[in-house]
């Protein structure tokens, strides 16, 4: 037999990206797939280049120039929001059923100069860079330079924040010890519960007015502030109603110009829907989706919150509308699926507003992290899966688009049938859906102090962070570079990359006599860094509470109206600050090298190791290989390494968990990295675990790349040793070769693996099904892929252990095995 050779220079592109990932029609399990409308909408969404719109900035700047100082801050914010809703371009595209764009057209993103004012240079970079490009015409840059930039100079939240932070914080921030989410975007938005399907904006206004009437100006010293906040909330309700009515008017106008009868009817229905919601509670399935979408657009137009907005348990919210209409015969399953597809594409039309500076480096993505929760439990603890859940899974599989993110929620009460359906989508290898464990995250929420009912209505948004949907401000404050803290410890407070002093002098590590001394120094350093981070996060929180309230968001989050307080000012029922810790695998493995080789077995001295690390292992390949191959690493159910991970995790909890925030509540810990592990790796020198300078650190709570060499069951047991209930979320990525997911019974076993992990207390798991590109990457960089086990009937071997021609053959086979 001749060897199948393939060109390894060019990484084959997935057809999916451009054409929609579609079932190979020759395969027998083909589903109906997208209809022509959805296909066209998807094509437009995927193929439209991301661009910048200066419209919102111009409206806002003009309004601020004319009005700043005339109103209280909340009312000023609400009136500005109303002005945008009155003036901004309204877009209804051909084929659309769900309407509304934040910018003037799909993929067009406004700027938020009141938070961060982009410079002319920023625009030139955004316009010309290869990745995450946002186009903008020169004429718009000129207008911005003339109209927008001069007014905001020195007035933006970003400038006001940076002009007041301590120098030592700045040094640590610039060294990459942590990031700060709120330095250029508003504190993280949140997820909604079911109230907007029961109440329209006019109902909310009634409620607001009732609370205004009952304000006690004689005994409540905050009554005036509350009045201003409540007035602002009422104005913002009007703003979204105006915004919707302008869509109705445009739809009616388009209907008059339209000749196609079917489209005329659709446009008239759009007009009817937009006059009904958000002013009133929705009555139909279509109205329910449009209701959410207007609320979503309102929150992301009002301000630029980190992690956009989430509908929460969208399948559960839509279920009553779906069932009612199916029973009445006014909706078919296919129509429901079409509407959900239209919604999905709407979210994809909304890339995140472009970031600048360090934040752009750590979060270089168009993704704005809307995460649709599918499945899970209801507030009474029963199974939440319904027909809409299955429709959503089909849409995820068929559309294969970047946004919205989506996840399935698998409790012990979740039927196997649903998990199986989700696993079949996972097998497609798009990375979606991720899988969450409500049984554990409900405990997390209860442990944080939420009521059981509110916890059950909660879930996960953004990446993996847990919150009480519709009732909580859970603000992500930034990532913590835990391996960098070890690096600074090993350099006695100095950042070796810049030679700047960024930490405490915890002693010369060459003088440390035992591991415990080293570990204590690391923990001292950790506490020092966390305290700096918290100090500035509290300051920024106060800045937002005072100067950038979000009255519209406050309308839809429980208790803001009754408390008369803003979302950023302790209005919600629950108020949490998270610090997201990254690099558990990297730091555990590095400590394991120090513990086992330097202190216990004395394989080599601290001096030898630190010298090798300092020169990025140049000329020390044998030492580096010995480290990689002869050290207990995290993720292999090896107590020597896992014990270190558990201890670090517990000490991170001790450093962060329970620290007070400005809202009278607390900081909690998250274990996630999103894309930040790449940035943190770039600002980190070589590490004792054999990782080269500049390479990514480990993501979430996953083992270091390729270091889990004993298979998925061992990874899961290692991760199960962390008391995840005490976190606000952990993240585990697992890599699978397609041949492990080939048959129906392989899918069942994947489902069992997920259930096993959840039995052990796992919060989240997601799977990357290895494709050709991954295997080519493994050829180029073998040590990051030591976990890749190739299995074929009766045979198994590690990919790295195979010679090049056999690897090429496996690559060719993998291509054939794609689903």
């Amino acid at each position: 037999m001749t060897l199948t050779t393939i060109n390894i220079q060019k990484v084959p592109e997935r057809q999916a990206r451009s054409e929609g990932n579609f079932y190979n029609t020759e395969r027998k399990n083909a589903l109906p797939g997208m209809n022509d409308r959805v296909r066209r909408l998807r094509k437009l969404s995927v193929e439209t280049q991301e661009s910048l719109s200066i419209e919102r900035a111009l409206i806002t700047t003009k309004f601020y120039k004319e009005n700043y100082g005339k109103y209280s801050e909340p009312v000023m914010r609400a009136l500005n929001f109303l002005e945008i809703c009155k003036q901004k371009t309204i877009y209804i595209g051909d084929d659309e059923l769900i309407v509304g764009e934040r910018g003037p057209s799909p993929k067009s993103v406004p700027t938020f100069p009141e938070l961060t004012c982009h410079s002319v240079e920023d625009f030139h970079v955004l316009n010309s860079r290869e990745q995450q490009r946002y186009t903008i015409p020169q004429a718009d840059i000129d207008t911005y330079e003339r109209e927008v930039i001069p007014y905001w100079k020195g007035r933006t939240m970003r400038e006001r924040i940076f002009s007041h932070v301590p120098l030592e914080w700045k040094a640590a921030y610039e060294a990459g010890l942590f990031t700060e989410f709120m330095e250029q975007r508003a504190p993280g938005h949140t997820s909604l519960d079911g109230k907007i399907y029961r109440k329209g904006m006019l109902d909310f206004k009634k409620e607001i007015n009732k609370h205004i009437q009952s304000l006690d100006f004689l005994n409540d010293l905050e009554a005036t502030d509350k009045l201003e906040e409540l007035k602002a909330m009422a104005i913002s309700c009007d703003a979204v109603i105006v915004f919707a009515e302008r869509h109705a008017e445009l739809a009616e106008k388009l209907a008059k110009e339209e000749s196609d009868q079917q489209r005329i009817e659709e446009l008239m229905e759009i007009a009817r829907v937009c006059r009904r919601v958000p002013a009133h509670a929705p009555q139909t399935f279509w109205e329910a989706i449009q209701m959410y979408w207007f609320v979503h657009l309102g929150t992301i137009t009002e301000l630029n919150g980190w992690d956009a907005m989430n509908p929460g348990h969208f399948d559960q919210h839509l279920q009553p509308f779906y069932e009612k209409e199916i029973a009445a015969g006014t909706l078919t399953r296919e129509q429901a699926k079409e509407l959900i597809s239209c919604f999905w594409i709407k979210v994809n039309n909304h890339p995140a507003p472009p970031k600048v500076g360090i934040t752009a480096r750590e979060s270089g993505t168009y993704n704005d992290f809307t995460n649709i929760n599918i499945g899970g439990v209801r507030s009474d603890g029963t199974d939440g899966v319904n027909e809409v859940s299955y429709i959503m899974l089909e849409v995820v599989e068929e559309l294969h688009i970047l946004q919205p993110g989506n996840s399935v929620h698998i409790s012990t009460v979740t039927p196997d049938k649903f998990l199986h359906a989700a696993c079949k989508v996972i097998r497609q290898g798009h990375g979606y859906p991720s899988v969450f464990n409500p049984d554990v995250y409900i405990q997390e929420l209860v442990w944080q102090g939420k009521s059981l009912q509110d916890a059950r209505e909660g879930g996960c948004s953004g990446c993996i962070e847990v919150g009480a949907f519709g009732k909580e401000a859970y603000v992500l404050t930034g990532y913590l570079n835990v391996p960098k803290i070890l690096e600074v410890t090993l350099n006695n407070g100095i950042d070796p990359l810049t030679n700047n002093k960024v930490g405490l002098e915890t002693g010369n590590p060459r003088d440390f006599q035992d591991y415990e001394t080293l570990y204590a120094a690391f923990i001292n350093q950790l506490n020092f860094v966390v305290d700096q981070k918290v100090r500035v996060s509290n300051y920024i929180d106060q800045m937002f509470a005072k100067y950038a309230p979000a009255p519209f968001l406050s309308v839809v989050i429980e208790d803001c109206i009754s408390k008369g307080r803003d979302y950023y000012n302790g209005g919600p029922r629950y108020n949490t600050n998270y610090i997201q810790c990254t690099g558990l695998g990297t730091v555990t493995d590095s400590l394991s090298v120090l513990k086992s080789h330097v202190f216990e077995n004395k394989t080599f001295s601290m001096d030898t190791l630190l010298n090798a690390v300092a020169k990025n292992f140049e000329g020390e390949e044998a030492l580096r290989q010995r480290i990689i191959n002869r050290t207990p690493f995290f993720g292999n159910d090896d107590e020597r390494a896992d014990g270190i991970a558990v201890r670090v995790y517990n000490d991170l909890l001790a450093a962060i968990d329970g620290k007070p925030n400005i809202k009278g509540e607390h900081y909690h810990l998250n274990m996630l990295s999103t894309t930040c592990h790449v940035y943190f790796g770039k600002v980190l020198g070589a590490t004792p675990n054999g990782r080269f300078s500049g390479k990514s650190i480990s993501d979430g709570t996953s083992p270091s790349h390729g270091c889990d060499t004993h298979g998925p069951t061992n990874v899961i047991r290692s991760l199960g040793k962390l008391d995840q209930v005490k976190s606000g979320g952990t993240l585990l990525n697992l890599r699978f070769v397609p041949s492990l997911l080939k048959r129906e019974k392989d899918i069942e076993k994947l489902a069992h693996l997920i259930r096993s992990y959840f039995k052990l207390g796992g919060h989240h798991i997601q799977f990357n099904v290895v494709d050709t590109a991954t295997l080519l990457a493994a050829q180029a960089c073998p040590e990051d892929y030591r976990d890749l086990l190739v299995r074929m009937a009766g045979y198994s071997d590690y990919f790295n252990d195979m010679n090049a021609d056999l690897q090429n053959e496996v690559i060719a086979r993998t291509e054939n095995e794609a689903f």
Binding site: E621, Q625, G720, G794, D797
Partner: protein
Amino acid sequence: MLPLIFDIRRYSINDGPGIRITIFMKGCPLKCQWCHNPESQSPEVQKLYTASKCIGAKDCIDVCPENALTLTGEGIVTDYNVCNLCGKCADVCPTKAIEMSGKLFSTDDLLEIIERERVHIDQSGGGVTFSGGEPLMHPEFLIEMLKACGDKGLHRVVDTCGFAPTETLLGVARHTDLFLYDLKLLDPELHKRWTGVDNRRILQNLRTLAEAGANINIRIPLIKNVNTQMDEIVKMADFINSLPGTKPKVNLLPYHNIARGKYQKLHMDYNHHDLEEPTQMDLDNVVAIFRKSGIETEIGG
């Protein structure tokens, strides 16, 4: 005497029901030309060398008490006339380019390793599979392990080529929940030519096992032009249908030549018979014949 173990595979999903842990023992009475795990054949410790991993650190040369190693343009070469397989070279190799295949485990150690998989086994209805090599070459150890696993309520699978004394097989059968029984060829001459042994005992054992009421899945490695011929397949189907008791299911394991890398590591010759993988048409034909004769058949383990 304890056998050497050459691999312990977790998340094993092709060796019986559920998620399993499979224990691979060294030593096999057969020498199948297509063997995917050549390191399983010898019951002794063997040295594996992966040239692509070697960085020429020479620690192995320095540590070798017999001076058996030299560094050449093709990597480390072992003079097996003097090498005593002490494994010191593998211990010091920084990249694991040299590894020793075959390690001793006490039954207690193995049971502890198996017990760690409990959550996955319980969740999936999985268990333990003993494979090889040929696990029946180590009956005392195997039975001890099977008994202990039975005491723990674990589902037990034995993957065998069937070439063992009938009493051994029946003794093992008393503690086994499912046999994965390999069937290669029905023609005794061809069987001898391709595997090194006559198949009469294998076939008779299979019949005896079926008579004893054992639960059996038959596994057939399919190699083009070795056993994919129509008449051979028909003979196999007839034989399976002639077995007493519940009719066994058949798993077809298509031959592939990816394993040739392992032969290089062992310095063994590979595939001097130019074995070929069965085509999709071959597979379809075989499946059709088996199914037509009423045998439940699937491709893969």
